[in-house]
Symmetry: C2
Subunit: 332 residues, 2 copies
C-alpha cells in the first residue's frame, strides 16, 4: 500500500498582509525508503514568526522560500520506518520537516529526544528554538545583572515567557508587554514576572514608566514598532537591546523608529540576531532549559491547532497575536 | 597689576537652533594664585559638536551646563604662573578650561604635552579627544578586518578624518561622506580614502551604493538623520555601527530612523558611545596617534578662528558644517 503524505506549500507571495490564499494543501505519494533513510510521522509542527519573513521575496535573514515548496518549519515526531542504523522505529525526533505529515531524510538533520521528563512538544518550545532564542538574547546580549530591570515584549509567547523567567532567576526585575488582560495576568501570576503592561489598553509609555521605576537595563524585542519606541524611551545609560523579532514590520510598511538619538545619548547597545547562527550555545542552553522544564521550574503554555489543514489559519492568527503561548499544530 | 580674564558664558538655552544670543562675553579680574595652583594662558580652544548637547536642558550624556557658567571645552595652552611643583612656567598643557583666555586649577586636570614633534593644536585634534574617539569607535566597536568596507560621515572632520585613515591602515576600503566637492576632494586626495560621497549633491543612497560595491561592514556615524538611513540600507550582515554623533538631531525635532527592521534582518550591532567614558583606552590610543602625527603618517586639517569673541560664531558655523577639519579658536 502506498502511503500518502499531505503537505502545505507556499503557493504565492503576500502582497501586504499574508492570507490563506498564499498556501496550498497537496497530497503526495510517499516513495519507498532508500538505504540510510528514515521516515518520521510528524506529531507537532512549530509555527513561528520568522516564517513570515521567508514568505517575502526580500532581503532578510535567509533566502526567501521558493514558491511551490513545502512551508519551512520545525517539527517533532516519531520514527515510523528506518533504514538507518542510528534510528529505530519509535524514536522521538525533532527536525525541520516543515508543514507536512511525514518527513523523510538521511537523519543528518534529526535529533533523538528523551520524552521521559520533557513532553515532546516542549522540544519545539522552551527546550527548542524559542527557548534557545530567549537564552541567547538574554545571556549573550543583555547579560543581566542582579537588581537590573529586564523588559520583554510578546511576554506570554514562546520566547518572551522564557526571557522573563530566566531574568527572574538571574535576580532581575522582569517586566512584560503583552496584548490583553488575560495574557498579562498569566505573565504575572503563572510566569512570575513582576509586572506586565497591556499594550492594547492605557498609555503604553506611561504604563511602562510606572512599571520600571528604575528605568530599563535590558530590553528583549520581539515586536518592534511603537513598542520599541516606548521601551527605548525608558532605557538607562549603557542599556542593551536584543533585537529578536519585529513582527510589526513584516506585513506593512516599515515602522520608523522615532527617537534614534536615544541610542547615542544613552550609549545603548543594539544587537540583531537569529539563533540559528549561534549553534555553539545550543548544547549549554538546551541542557539548562531541559533541566528547568523537567523540574517544573520553567512554565510554558501552548496553543494547539488540530490537523494539518489548520496550519495556515493558525499561523496568520499568531501573526496577529491570537495565540496564547507557543503556537503548535498537532497532526492528528 | 590685576590681570583681566575674558570669558564666554552660556547666557540662555537655545529654543530650536542655537544662536549667538545664547552666549555672553564677560571680563573678570584674575585672583592671585593660591598655593598648589597653576595658571594657564590658553592658546587654543577646541570647538566640538557635543557642546551643543550641553546647552540643552535635557537628558543627554551629562548634566546640562548651568546657565551663567563658562562654556565647557578642551583647551591647549602654556603655564604662565605656577605655585604647584608639578608644573613650571612655559610648560605646554592641555586641559578643560573652556571658553576663556586664562584657566586656573590645582593641576589635577592638566596634562603636560611634548610639542617637539607634535604641534600644540594637534592635542585638541588627532592626538586628543577627536582622535581617541575615532580610535575607540573603529577599533573597539567596528573592529575592522582587512578587505572590509568602512564608511564614515563627516569624513573631513576631526573625528571622521582619523577614522578613515586608520581604516585604510587596517587594510579596509574607506569611504567618506562629506558636504561639498571641496571637502570630498580633500578626503580622497589628501586623506587617502578610496571614495567620498557629497551628500549635498546627487542621490546619497545611490552614490553610496556605487562607492560600496561589496556593501558596508562598519559605519562610523557622526551626523545621524538621512545619512544614517542611507548607510543602514547598505550594511552587510553582521555589520557594526559606531554611533558617535547625531548632529542632525541637536537643534531640531528628532529625525526618525526609517527602516529599523534592517537592524534585525542584517543582524547589526549598534553601539552608542562617548569617549570620555572609556579612559582606559586613552594611553594606547594617544601613543599610536601621536606617533602617526609625528611621522606625518596621519593628515589633519584645522579651521582656526582668531580671538575669543569669534568662538560663538565659529561654533554655530561648525554645527552647520562650515568648518573644514578641526574647528579651533586661537586666542590672540
Amino acid at each position: 500500500m502506498t502511503q500518502t503524505n499531505r503537505q502545505i506549500l507556499l503557493a504565492s507571495r503576500p502582497e501586504g498582509a499574508a492570507s490563506v490564499d498564499n498556501f496550498r494543501l497537496v497530497e503526495t505519494p510517499l516513495a519507498p525508503l532508500e538505504e540510510g533513510q528514515v521516515r518520521v510521522r510528524n506529531h507537532f509542527l512549530s509555527l513561528d514568526p520568522y516564517m513570515r519573513g521567508r514568505m517575502n521575496d526580500s532581503k532578510s535573514y535567509a533566502a526567501p522560500q521558493p514558491l511551490g515548496s513545502v512551508m519551512i518549519g520545525g517539527t517533532a515526531g516519531e520514527v515510523v520506518e528506518s533504514r538507518n542504523a542510528k534510528f529505530k522505529t519509535g524514536d522521538k525526533v525533532v527536525g525541520m520537516f516543515g508543514w507536512q505529515e511525514f518527513g523523510t531524510s538521511n537523519g543528518g538533520d534529526l535529533h533523538v529526544v528523551d520524552t521521559t521528563h520533557v513532553p515532546l512538544s516542549a522540544y519545539l518550545g522552551p527546550v527548542g528554538m524559542p527557548g534557545v532564542t530567549a537564552w541567547y538574547g538574554l545571556n549573550r546580549i543583555i547579560e543581566p545583572k542582579a537588581g537590573q530591570t529586564v523588559v520583554v515584549s510578546a511576554a506570554s509567547g514562546a520566547v518572551g515567557s522564557v526571557v522573563g523567567q530566566l531574568a527572574k532567576r538571574a535576580g532581575c526585575r522582569a517586566v512584560g508587554i503583552a496584548g490583553g488582560a488575560q495574557k498579562c495576568r498569566y505573565v504575572v501570576e503563572t510566569l512570575g514576572f513582576d509586572a506586565c503592561i497591556d499594550y492594547k489598553a492605557g498609555n503604553l509609555y506611561q504604563d511602562l514608566k510606572a512599571a520600571t521605576p528604575d528605568g530599563v537595563d535590558g530590553y528583549f524585542e520581539n515586536v518592534g514598532g511603537e513598542v520599541l519606541d516606548a521601551a527605548l524611551a525608558r532605557m538607562n545609560a549603557f542599556g542593551r537591546i536584543a533585537l529578536c523579532g519585529m513582527i510589526a514590520c513584516y506585513d506593512a510598511q516599515p515602522v520608523p523608529l522615532r527617537h534614534p538619538q536615544l541610542l547615542l545619548t544613552q550609549r545603548l547597545l543594539v544587537q540583531g540576531f537569529i539563533v540559528s547562527e549561534h549553534m555553539d550555545v545550543w548544547p549549554q542552553a538546551l541542557a539548562e532549559l531541559g533541566t528547568l522544564v523537567a523540574k517544573h521550574q520553567l512554565a510554558y503554555r501552548e496553543t494547539v491547532a488540530e490537523g494539518l489543514e489548520k496550519a495556515p489559519g493558525a499561523f496568520l492568527g499568531m501573526l496577529k497575536g491570537q495565540n496564547f503561548g507557543k503556537q503548535l499544530v498537532k497532526l492528528i
